[in-house]
């Protein structure tokens, strides 16, 4: 996936060309749903870094992500994934994202994600010894 430099917004757009290893079904040759999900998640993170209130270097973690897989996408297509940060308060960011085919503009998937900002950015202590039980706080 690459940033769509020519894109004029809103938010951030990423291009994802089809490739054999991204296939969900080697007979139908469609993008695996997980590939679309991963790109939505990644683009959502990038659009937060692009938000005017984002402080450079702040780490983040996805809290939740919902994806609707509207149409299966052929691997012959390139997908454009766009993410827009709709809310940002320093602790939490809310993002909506869509994936569509670059040339034919067919809607492939929509997603909605919530991110927690300012998550630990160094190595975690060994998990069994962590009494809090979480690593997102």
């Amino acid at each position: 996936m690459v940033l769509d430099e020519a894109d004029t917004g809103p938010g951030v757009a990423v291009l994802l060309p089809g490739a054999a290893r991204l296939s969900g079904d080697d007979q139908d040759e469609v993008f695996h749903t997980g590939v679309i999900l991963a790109t939505l998640d990644n683009t959502a993170g990038w659009c937060i870094r692009d938000h005017p209130d984002y402080v450079e270097g702040t780490s983040m973690a996805t809290l939740d992500l919902r994806v609707d897989f509207v149409t299966p996408a052929s691997l012959r297509e390139t997908l454009r994934v766009r993410a827009v940060c709709e809310g940002f308060d320093g602790d939490i960011a809310f993002v909506r994202a869509t994936a569509e085919t670059l040339n034919t503009k067919v809607l492939i998937a929509t997603g909605q994600a919530t991110f927690m900002l300012g998550t630990p950015s160094g190595p975690n202590p060994a998990t069994p010894a962590n009494p809090v039980g979480g690593s997102l706080e």
Partner: protein, 157 residues
């Protein structure tokens, strides 16, 4: 967790789940493998440098975690319902509970409701301890068409 109870009277089929796994190049790229344990079908994925999203922690990429929930749900559905065609994922909802460490990730799923056309599954991923899941997912699959659902024979929805 995914008890071998399913509609249609078919027996769980590891062979069909393995066949489905081979058909998914992206699952092979992630390095997913399958086994049947005392609690049913289990997916297992080794950590690899190119599956890491945050190299400082290091932590598994959120997209990889979501993909493993997707693949675990789909293969469990194929396993339990002995499907010989691919179900289609319609939507899914992931809660990320802990960051995934650079270590093997295990997955399991159960059918919450299996109908004739749709199946609702719950999937879970963990690393050291099944009681400390790193992520859970709710997944809705459209089932492959069969003789009873093909050709508009089904009246109600």
């Amino acid at each position: 967790m995914n008890k071998p109870v399913q509609a249609g009277g078919s027996l769980p089929s590891l062979a069909l789940a393995q066949q489905q796994l081979i058909k998914m190049p992206y699952a092979a790229f992630l390095g997913v493998s399958l086994r049947v344990g005392p609690d049913g079908l289990e997916t297992s994925t080794r950590s690899r440098a190119d599956l890491i999203g945050n190299t400082n922690l290091p932590a598994l990429h959120g997209g990889v975690i979501g993909s493993l929930l997707d693949i675990t749900g789909m293969l469990t559905l194929v396993f339990l319902k002995a499907l010989d065609q691919s179900p289609r994922l319609i939507d899914m909802d992931i809660d990320y509970l802990r960051s995934g460490q650079a270590q093997p990730t295990l997955g399991r799923a159960e059918i919450v409701r299996g109908g004739r056309r749709m199946a609702n599954l719950r999937a879970v991923l963990w690393q050291d301890d099944p009681e400390r899941p790193i992520a859970i997912g709710r997944l809705q699959f459209l089932l492959p068409k069969t003789e009873t659902t093909r050709g508009g024979l089904e009246v109600s929805r």
